[in-house]
C-alpha cells in the first residue's frame, strides 16, 4: 500500500480487490448504501469491531472471524441473518497480498454462510496509527415469530447446554501469536452458527437464552447470563467438553479453559423438559456433534456461578477483572 487515504491508485486497487472477492448484486449497484426489502417482523442488528493479533491463525483469520462473529451475534437472538456490512481501517504499508487473503477469506465465509456483505467502507491511516487492519462488521437479521430469546430469561431449573469443546480458539490464537508449539496444532473453532441455531429454534422454539462464549470464555458469559436473569448456575465440570490437546495446553500454560475465548460455540438455556429434545437437535448438526448438557440454573439471589469439580467439590466460577492474575498466596 503506497498512498494515504484518497490516493487514486490505492482507491482503485482496493475497489478491484474488494469487487473481485465480494461480488453480489447489491454491492454491484455501486451505491453508498444497500437497499433491500424485508418482511415485517422483529429485526435484530449488531456490530462488532475486530482487532486481532496475529491476523492469520490456525483455523482462521481476521476476515473469516469478522464474518462469523457478527453472524453469530445476530443468530444468538434466534434470528436468521440477512445481510452484513464491513468497514476496514488499513494501516499504510499493509501488504496488499495479505489484504487479498483476508478479503478472500471473508468472501468465502460469507458465501458459505449464505449471508452477503452488501455495503462497506475502507479507510487508510498513516503508518503507526493502526495495527495492520481493523475490520468492523455489522449484521442484520430477522427473528422468527414466536421466538423470544434473551439473556434475562433463564429460570431456576432450566438446563444449560453447550454446543461443543471449549478453549480451541483462544489457545490457537495465543500459541500462534506467542510462537508456542504443542504436540499437535490446535485449530480455532471459528464458525458461523446460524444454521445450527435455525435447527435448534425449529426443534425447541421456547429456548430461553442463546449466547456465544467469546471473550472471557464460558466463565464470563455464564456470569453475564446469571446476572441478567438473577439466577444461579451450577456447572458440572466432567460434562464440559474439552479436547485433550487444548486441555494439555491449558495445563502447561496455567490457564483455566473456562476463561478462554471461543468463536464457534454457543450456550443454550432451555426449560428442563425440552433439554433432551434440544440436545438431540444440536447433536444432529455438524457444528454441535459434541454438544452436552453442562449444568442447570438455580434459585440464587446472589446469581453465583458454581461448578461441581471432577473431585466432587464445588468451586466458585467468578468473572475476572482483567488478565487472569494468580490469587493464591
Amino acid at each position: 500500500m503506497i498512498h494515504g487515504a484518497g490516493g487514486r491508485a490505492t482507491a482503485e486497487l482496493i475497489r478491484t480487490l474488494f469487487r473481485r472477492h465480494l461480488d453480489n448484486s447489491l454491492l454491484a449497484q455501486g451505491n453508498d448504501q444497500a437497499a433491500f426489502a424485508v418482511k415485517a417482523g422483529r429485526m435484530v442488528m449488531t456490530t462488532d469491531a475486530h482487532v486481532i493479533a496475529p491476523l492469520f491463525f490456525p483455523g482462521g483469520d481476521i476476515g473469516s472471524l469478522a464474518v462469523h462473529g457478527t453472524i453469530n451475534d445476530v443468530a444468538m437472538a434466534g434470528a436468521r441473518p440477512l445481510y452484513l456490512s464491513a468497514a476496514f481501517v488499513l494501516e499504510e504499508g499493509f501488504p496488499l497480498a495479505d489484504l487479498d487473503r483476508i478479503v478472500a477469506s471473508m468472501a468465502a465465509a460469507s458465501r458459505a454462510a449464505g449471508v452477503p456483505i452488501v455495503t462497506g467502507d475502507t479507510k487508510v491511516v498513516e503508518k503507526g496509527k493502526g495495527d495492520g487492519v481493523f475490520i468492523t462488521t455489522t449484521g442484520i437479521g430477522v427473528v422468527p415469530d414466536g421466538v423470544e430469546i434473551s439473556g434475562d430469561r433463564a429460570r431456576p431449573g432450566d438446563m444449560v447446554l453447550l454446543s461443543g469443546s471449549i478453549g480451541d480458539h483462544g489457545i490457537a490464537v495465543l500459541s500462534k501469536r506467542e510462537n508456542l508449539t504443542f504436540e499437535t496444532e490446535i485449530l480455532s473453532d471459528s464458525a458461523a452458527l446460524h444454521t445450527l441455531v435455525a435447527d435448534m429454534v425449529a426443534a425447541v422454539p421456547g429456548i430461553r437464552v442463546l449466547r456465544d462464549p467469546t471473550r472471557g470464555g464460558l466463565g464470563a458469559t455464564l456470569n453475564e447470563i446469571a446476572q441478567q436473569s438473577r439466577v444461579g448456575i451450577r456447572l458440572d465440570e466432567a460434562a464440559i467438553p474439552i479436547k485433550p490437546d487444548v486441555s494439555a495446553a491449558c495445563e502447561l500454560l496455567g490457564l483455566d479453559p473456562l476463561y478462554i475465548a471461543n468463536e464457534g460455540k454457543l450456550i443454550a438455556i432451555a426449560p428442563p423438559d425440552k433439554a433432551q429434545l434440544l440436545l438431540a437437535a444440536m447433536r444432529a448438526h455438524p457444528l454441535a456433534r459434541d454438544a452436552a448438557i453442562i449444568g442447570e440454573a438455580m434459585q440464587d439471589p446472589h446469581a453465583f456461578v458454581q461448578m461441581r469439580t471432577r473431585f466432587g467439590g464445588n468451586r466458585m466460577v467468578d468473572w475476572l477483572a482483567g488478565d487472569p492474575l494468580p490469587r493464591i498466596c
Partner: protein, 823 residues
C-alpha cells in the same frame, strides 16, 4: 454484720470476656462470702455490679473479682465509683432482659476437670455422659445461632431441660448456673453408632457406643466422629493400612494428619514437649500443637506426616473424646471429615453423603453444629507458642487493639486462601475463625453465613469496608458487594502492608507509632509500584497482552499492570508503607500453576540467575537438571520470554519452592499449599550439628544513601545463591546440608539487609510477618541475628500467614480515617 454507718456503696464496672462464662454467679458467690449486698447484671459494656458493705470487705471483693475469676473469663479492666443510696438487704443476680445486649460470645472450651470428674464417677448422674459441660467448659460459638446467648438461640433449644438440670441452671451456687448447653442423659443430646449404610451397628459386648467405636478403631476401621466444630475421621495411628485408606478416601496425599492422644504422658512417648507446649496442649483451647518427633517414638503409620520432623498432637477436648481415648491403647488420627480441600461436614446427612465412601462407621449425635470450626494449630517458635491456624477454642475471642480515638467501625474482608474476616471497633478486634479457601463454594457460603452471624453476635454495623488490593479475591468481591449494598466507603489495602500492620496491632503499637521496618515474606500478594498508594487507581484504558479476549490487543478496560509481591522490606506505619527493598522478581510460569508445580520455579530461578543455557551447559550432568530438562522447558522458557501467563513476582515462597525442587523435594508437584517449603525446613532441621558450613557469600552491601538511581527499592538477587546450590550439588553435598545452608544464608541475607536498611532510615523496630515466617528455622534465625540491636516484633496471637490479613486491613482502614497528629 457491721454497723450501718460503716456501710459504703460502690459501683463496679468489669470489662473483658465476662459474659457467658459464669461471671455473675462468681460475683454472687464472693459477695455472699463477704456478706455484701447489692446486685450484678450483664449489659452492653460487660458486667455491672453494685455492692454495699464495709470498706475492707469491698476491697477484698474487688480484688477477688479478677484473682478468682472463672476459668474462661478474661478481666480486662475494673473501674469503680462511689455509690450512694440505701443498701439492699441481700445480693441478687439481675436477669438479662430480652432487650439487653451482650458483648459477644466466647470460644468453645475443652472439658474442665470438674466435668471430667463427673463423667468418671459411677455414682454421678452424668457418669460416661458424652455431652457433659458447665459454665467453665463446653461448646459456645459452635452452637450459637443468634443473640442474646441463651439456650433458645443455640442448637440446645431442641432439648428441654429435665427438672434436675433446670435446678442446676437456676441455682447461682451451682457451676451449671446459666450454662446454656447444660444437659444430662435424661434430657440431653444422644449418641449413636451407625454403619456406612446408615443402619445401626450392634455394640458387640461393648458398654456403649463410644467403646464400640473404639473397638472398631482398634480393629482398623475408619470412624467418622461428630465433634464440636465438625465431623472428624478417626483411625488407629499405628495402623498403616487404615491411614493409607483414610488418605486415599480423603484424596489427601501429603498433608500431615493430626493426632489425638489420651493425655500428655501418651504424647510424651512420641514427641518432645517443652513446658509452653504442654500448657498449650492442656489449655481450654486444646489446639493441635506441632511437636518435634522423638527419634525413639513407638511406631506410627509412616504416612501420617511424610517428609516432616514434627507431629501434630491434640488432647481430648470433649467428654466423648476422653471416653473414646480411655478405651484405646495409643493415639488416633483425628482429621477433618472432608474430601481434599472442602470444608468439613457439620450436618449428619451431609456427613453420611460425603463421608460414607471413606468411613466404615459413624459416631453420630443429635445436637446440631451451627458453626463450622476447624481445629486450631499452634507451634512453639523462639520461645513463644505461635498460632498457625486460629479457629476452635481461640475464635472469636477479641484481640485488644491500641485504642484509636475516633476510629470508625471497620469490617475487613481478609485474603483468599486462609481467609478470615475482622470486625474492629471501640478498641478491640474480633477476628473470625479460619474459614478457608473462598474459591470453594461451600466455604464461600460458610463465610457469608459467619459474616451475618458475627454481625449479629457483636451488634456490628461497619462504617468502612476494607478489602485487599487484589481485585479478583472472592473476599474483595464480597466486600465490594457489601459496601455497595449499604453505600459504605471501601478501603483497599496492600496485602503486605496488612501483614505488617497486623503484627503492629497485635503488639499494641499506638496509632501514631513511628514507622517500623516490616519484613513480609509470603507466596504472593498484590503490590504496587507507586509507594504510599492507599487504593487502586480508577480504571483507565490501557493496552496489554490479552490471552482470552479473542486474542485482541487493545479493546478492553484493563487494570494497569501491578506487580506481585512476596519478599518485601517495607517502611510502614498504620497509614502507609513504602517499599525499600525486595526480592528480585522472577516469573511465575503459568501463574498459580507455579505454586502447584515447584519445577516451574526452579526453571524460572535458574533462568533468571544464570540463564537456562548456561545452567545446562555447566551443570547439565546433575540429575536434577536432567530431570528438569525432561519437563516442557522450551514452551516454559517461551512463556517467560513472551510474558505469557508468567507474571514476575518477588515471592519468597516461590524461592523456597525452587530450592526445594533443586533438592528433589516436591519437584513435580506440591499436593498442598507450602508443602515444598515445609519439607525443605524439615530437611534442614534434621541437621543436628551446628557446624554445617556456610556458603562463602559476602554480606550484602547496600547503597549508603537513599534508594537506587531510579528511586526504586533495592533488589535482592539470587545469582550467588544458585551458584552455591549447584556447586554443592555438583560436589554431592547431602541435600540436608544444602537445605540447612540455604536457611542460614537466607537468615543472614534478611538480617544483613534489615540491619542496613534500619540503620540508614533510623528505624528501631522490625516486624517479621507473612506465611513464610511460619518456618521456625527462618524465624528463629532472623530473630537471633537481630534481637540484640533491634526490637523485633513477630506474630503469635494471630497467624504469620494470611489468617492475619483481615486484622491488618482493619487497623489500616481505621488509622487512615483519623488525621495524623503532627510529629
Amino acid at each position: 454484720m457491721a454497723d450501718a454507718d460503716d456501710i459504703k456503696g460502690v459501683s463496679i464496672r468489669v470489662r473483658g470476656l465476662v459474659q457467658g462464662v459464669g461471671f455473675r454467679p462468681h460475683v454472687w458467690r464472693i459477695a455472699r462470702e463477704l456478706w455484701l449486698t447489692g446486685d450484678v447484671l450483664n449489659d452492653a459494656e460487660g458486667v455491672l455490679i453494685r455492692a454495699f458493705g464495709p470498706r475492707a470487705a469491698l476491697d477484698a471483693f474487688i480484688a477477688a473479682l479478677a484473682d478468682r475469676a472463672p476459668p474462661l473469663a478474661r478481666v480486662e479492666c475494673i473501674e469503680t465509683a462511689p455509690l450512694n443510696g440505701p443498701a439492699p438487704d441481700m445480693f441478687r443476680i439481675v436477669e438479662s432482659g430480652a432487650g439487653d445486649v451482650t458483648t459477644g460470645i466466647v470460644p468453645d472450651a475443652a472439658t474442665c476437670p470438674a466435668c471430667l470428674a463427673d463423667i468418671r464417677d459411677p455414682e454421678n448422674r452424668r457418669y460416661r455422659y458424652p455431652f457433659t459441660n458447665c459454665t467453665h467448659c463446653g461448646p459456645r460459638l459452635s452452637i450459637v445461632r443468634a443473640i442474646p446467648y441463651d439456650r433458645a438461640t443455640t442448637s440446645m433449644a431442641a432439648f428441654e431441660m429435665c427438672p434436675a438440670c433446670r435446678a442446676e441452671y437456676e441455682d447461682p451456687a451451682d457451676r451449671r448456673f446459666h450454662a446454656q448447653p447444660n444437659a444430662c442423659p435424661v434430657c440431653g443430646p444422644r449418641l449413636w453408632l451407625e454403619g456406612a449404610d446408615g443402619a445401626a451397628l450392634p455394640l458387640r459386648g461393648a458398654r456403649d457406643e463410644i467403646e464400640a467405636a473404639a473397638a472398631l478403631i482398634r480393629d482398623g476401621a475408619i470412624v467418622a466422629i461428630k465433634g464440636i466444630g465438625g465431623f472428624h475421621l478417626a483411625c488407629d495411628a499405628a495402623n498403616e493400612d487404615a491411614v493409607t485408606r483414610l488418605r486415599a478416601g480423603k484424596r489427601r496425599s501429603g498433608k500431615p494428619l493430626a493426632l489425638m492422644a489420651r493425655n500428655v504422658a501418651m504424647v510424651t512417648r512420641y514427641a518432645h514437649i517443652a513446658p509452653p507446649e504442654r500448657a498449650a496442649l492442656e489449655s481450654a483451647a486444646a489446639p493441635i500443637v506441632l511437636l518435634s518427633r522423638r527419634a525413639d517414638a513407638p511406631p506410627l503409620a509412616s504416612s501420617i506426616a511424610p517428609g516432616q520432623t514434627t507431629l501434630g498432637f491434640m488432647l481430648p477436648y470433649t467428654p466423648l473424646h476422653h471416653l473414646l481415648m480411655e478405651a484405646l491403647p495409643g493415639p488416633i488420627v483425628l482429621t477433618s471429615g472432608n474430601v481434599s480441600d472442602e470444608p468439613q461436614s457439620i450436618a449428619n446427612d451431609d456427613a453420611r453423603e460425603r463421608l460414607s465412601e471413606i468411613a466404615d462407621a459413624f459416631l453420630m449425635h443429635d445436637r446440631d453444629i451451627v458453626n463450622r470450626l476447624d481445629d486450631s494449630v499452634v507451634r512453639l517458635a523462639a520461645g513463644r507458642v505461635r498460632t498457625v491456624r486460629r479457629a476452635r477454642g481461640l475464635a472469636p475471642a477479641p484481640l485488644p487493639l491500641p485504642l484509636f480515638q475516633g476510629a470508625p467501625a471497620v469490617l475487613a474482608m481478609g485474603a483468599e486462601l486462609k481467609s478470615t474476616f475482622c470486625l474492629a471497633s471501640g478498641g478491640r478486634a474480633i477476628v473470625s475463625q479460619h474459614i478457608g479457601d473462598l474459591e470453594d463454594a461451600a466455604t464461600h457460603a460458610d463465610c457469608r453465613a459467619n459474616l451475618a452471624l458475627y454481625k449479629r453476635l457483636f451488634r456490628f454495623a461497619p462504617d468502612v469496608v476494607a478489602v485487599d488490593a487484589h481485585p479478583d479475591y472472592h473476599a474483595t468481591r464480597l466486600g465490594e458487594a457489601l459496601a455497595a449494598e449499604r453505600g459504605l466507603p471501601i478501603a483497599r489495602v496492600l496485602h503486605h502492608h496488612a501483614h505488617v500492620a497486623a503484627v503492629m496491632a497485635e503488639h499494641g503499637e499506638p496509632l501514631d507509632a513511628t514507622p517500623v521496618l516490616g519484613i513480609a515474606f509470603d507466596g504472593l500478594g498484590m503490590g504496587d509500584d507507586v509507594p504510599d498508594q492507599p487504593a487502586l487507581e480508577a480504571p483507565h484504558l490501557s493496552t496489554g497482552k490479552l490471552i482470552d479476549n479473542k486474542g485482541e490487543r487493545s479493546d478492553a478496560f484493563q487494570r494497569t499492570h501491578r506487580p506481585l509481591w512476596g519478599g518485601e522490606f517495607l517502611v510502614a506505619d498504620y497509614r502507609a508503607c513504602r517499599r525499600v527493598a525486595s526480592f528480585a522478581p522472577v516469573p511465575l510460569i503459568g501463574g498459580a500453576k507455579a505454586m502447584r508445580e515447584p519445577w516451574r520455579n526452579l526453571l524460572a530461578h535458574l533462568d533468571v540467575a544464570l540463564g537456562w543455557d548456561e545452567a545446562s551447559a555447566r551443570f547439565g550432568d546433575l540429575s536434577i537438571l536432567r530431570r528438569l530438562a525432561a519437563k516442557p522447558v522450551a514452551p516454559a522458557l517461551q512463556m517467560m520470554a513472551r510474558g505469557v501467563n508468567a507474571p514476575p513476582a518477588s515471592s519468597a515462597g516461590r524461592l523456597f519452592d525452587a530450592v526445594a525442587a533443586a533438592l528433589g523435594i516436591c519437584f513435580d508437584e506440591a499436593t498442598y499449599e507450602g508443602q515444598a517449603a515445609v519439607e525443605l525446613e524439615a530437611l534442614a532441621a534434621s541437621v543436628r550439628c551446628r557446624d554445617f558450613g556456610r556458603w562463602p557469600i559476602a554480606a550484602r552491601k547496600l547503597p549508603s544513601r537513599g534508594m537506587g538511581e531510579d528511586g526504586g527499592p533495592i533488589r535482592l538477587g539470587w545469582g550467588e545463591l544458585w551458584q552455591a546450590v549447584l556447586d554443592d550439588l555438583a560436589r554431592d553435598a547431602p541435600p540436608a546440608i544444602v537445605a540447612a545452608r540455604f536457611h542460614a544464608f537466607l537468615a543472614d541475607t534478611v538480617a544483613d539487609t534489615a540491619r542496613a536498611l534500619a540503620r540508614r532510615d533510623g528505624l528501631r523496630r522490625i516486624v517479621l510477618c507473612g506465611g513464610v515466617f511460619h518456618n521456625r528455622l527462618l524465624l528463629e534465625g532472623v530473630l537471633e541475628r537481630l534481637a540484640g540491636d533491634f526490637e523485633v516484633l513477630a506474630p503469635a496471637l494471630c497467624p504469620a500467614g494470611d489468617g492475619a490479613i483481615s486484622l491488618g486491613q482493619a487497623v489500616i482502614a481505621a488509622a487512615r480515617a483519623i488525621p495524623a497528629s503532627p510529629r
